[in-house]
Symmetry: C2
Subunit: 379 residues, 2 copies
Amino acid sequence: MDGNSLGALPIAARERLEHVVKAEWGKGLIKSWNDAGWIALNERVGAKIAPLVGAHPKEVVLADSTSVNLFKTVATAAVLNAGRKKIISEAGNFPTDLYMMEGLTAFMKGDLELKVTARDDILEALDEDTAVLLLTHVHYVSGAMFDMAAVTKTAHEKGVLVVWDLSHSAGAVTLALSEAGADFAVGCGYKYLNGGPGAPAFIYAAERHHGAMAQPLSGWFGHKCPFDFVDTFEPKDGIARMTTGTTPVLAASALESALSVFDGLDMETVRTKSVALTDLFIALCEKDLGAYGFTVVPCGDDARGSHVSLMHDEGYAIMAALIDHGVIGDFRAPNNLRFGFTPLYMSFVDVWDAVETLHRIMKKKIWDHAKYKERNAVT
Amino acid sequence: MDGNSLGALPIAARERLEHVVKAEWGKGLIKSWNDAGWIALNERVGAKIAPLVGAHPKEVVLADSTSVNLFKTVATAAVLNAGRKKIISEAGNFPTDLYMMEGLTAFMKGDLELKVTARDDILEALDEDTAVLLLTHVHYVSGAMFDMAAVTKTAHEKGVLVVWDLSHSAGAVTLALSEAGADFAVGCGYKYLNGGPGAPAFIYAAERHHGAMAQPLSGWFGHKCPFDFVDTFEPKDGIARMTTGTTPVLAASALESALSVFDGLDMETVRTKSVALTDLFIALCEKDLGAYGFTVVPCGDDARGSHVSLMHDEGYAIMAALIDHGVIGDFRAPNNLRFGFTPLYMSFVDVWDAVETLHRIMKKKIWDHAKYKERNAVT
């Protein structure tokens, strides 16, 4: 129940990597850039992610890490909205979103500034000096999910461009970037997309921005003719100008094959199961665990993404005991136990077993043993 | 003779990847961040690259792509040298170095500007308004190699910080970053380091800069306590603050194992063979190919790195024919045929065979067939 930084290993990804390493790298060598299609990987994988996020295939491209892509998209949006100074984001957003904005604004010394606002005050904070609104679609702790279309509409009415971080959404909930009129988005290739540990990330940019968008990390893979080796940068047409350095072929290939598990799947169906899984988990927790001091982190008026966090003062020790008993969740300081529900491969039996194990740990006070109370690094 | 974007496949890298995928990802899952040491990969691989570039193990870290790292190091150096506006680089430098600087300076709108200067005029161009000098240590076409210590000394005398791109140097020539007093450096994990197609890159920063350096791409992997999930960025101590997003575990693991072929090797010995290989190639070319209109791209007064470029008006067709006859070199418009000599796995017989094949192609005018004269994408 914790695929955060990797996802489960798809058989297709394992087999593909073996082929890429032994045949394409080992034997095809440099010729594989053309012969094995490495040169088109960024765009090909982007096009494969597009239907999962409700975008046109030419609006998504694989590139770098989520963090780097946050810098690229927000900087690009800020330049498109030049004259406005503020970047607004949510207090308690996923840390790297805020950290990247700190770096971006510090580097711009006064030309841009970051304003971090409580969730309930975000829409009111948007004003005529706001260039970009950066939001994580599904909150990484509470699971609360913004209404993308409504938020985007309000932002646009105030002339604000919106960048969505889909890291905790893509592959688990229905997304409709185009329909919502979203400007930019980023997301990771791991977690619900199962691309493996530290898989490359993706960028979405609405087609209407392609012509004017100029990003600061203008590397040679975003150049119109990279193999002409000219001194002056000329961006590729379309979404590919958001790429930067040489494609990470091994990781990109693993992700491409991992995505094939979504082939022919309807995201509405995936989402229906996701809701059923989280609802069952919450219902079982309320039935069995009420006496042990757990509280479900609420989503407020928002819908829920595909994970549930429970608060408990002894959260660290409880999660350590749970992991030791085969239920891998995630502890987030100070007191959150987070459980992810990947609709593609989790069963209702898994949910039932998890709550039963947690129940046993609480009833027998297993978590109270010294070994679980000692703090180690938990990722 | 063209390992540019990958390097040959080391057996150790192949075996390691298989283990990482099947055991660490497939079975260990999220626990592998601690149990398999993924969390320390960036620093561990950096420390393994350090002796190859003449740096202290704590001065090198794995991160992102070379392009992204160019942005990070030059921006960091520019901030350290605030008040000065110019970034100077070489005309005809490897394109992504210049492209990244275009993006960086355009984004800074007037606070920083890029000046691209002919090789011979670089040192004279450094003045009291120059913040950073960005140079590729071994030129990607000519192979000409800067005297790192001398250039760094001159730059420092003028108060200029130097960023070296070692992509065409690391693993093939002797490097002494610390001894030369170098400030920052970047380089790719592929080419002579054999990390595989699009392998992650590295950053070097001299220890004396660690305390003050603040880079703009301040992502969560560069945070002092990333798993405390606080809203405010606080950089890690030391070189690790130059990292940004989640470690690309598959690619980083492959590179770590690939680097083991350098274990116990003395770079002076590697360099001696590199020089012997390029010298033999040039001597054979002059002996056998003089009549066919080839010219060796000269290095001027500089030493030569580990590759040789030949100029020929029919370079494209000749390289296509060569590749077809089993000698893989590299064509760079408009008329360069580039041959790389990886001292670790190339033999003198390989050099001999390559020139003999080229000789045969010229003598029999094989390159003049229509199929070789038709232009396709060549990477």
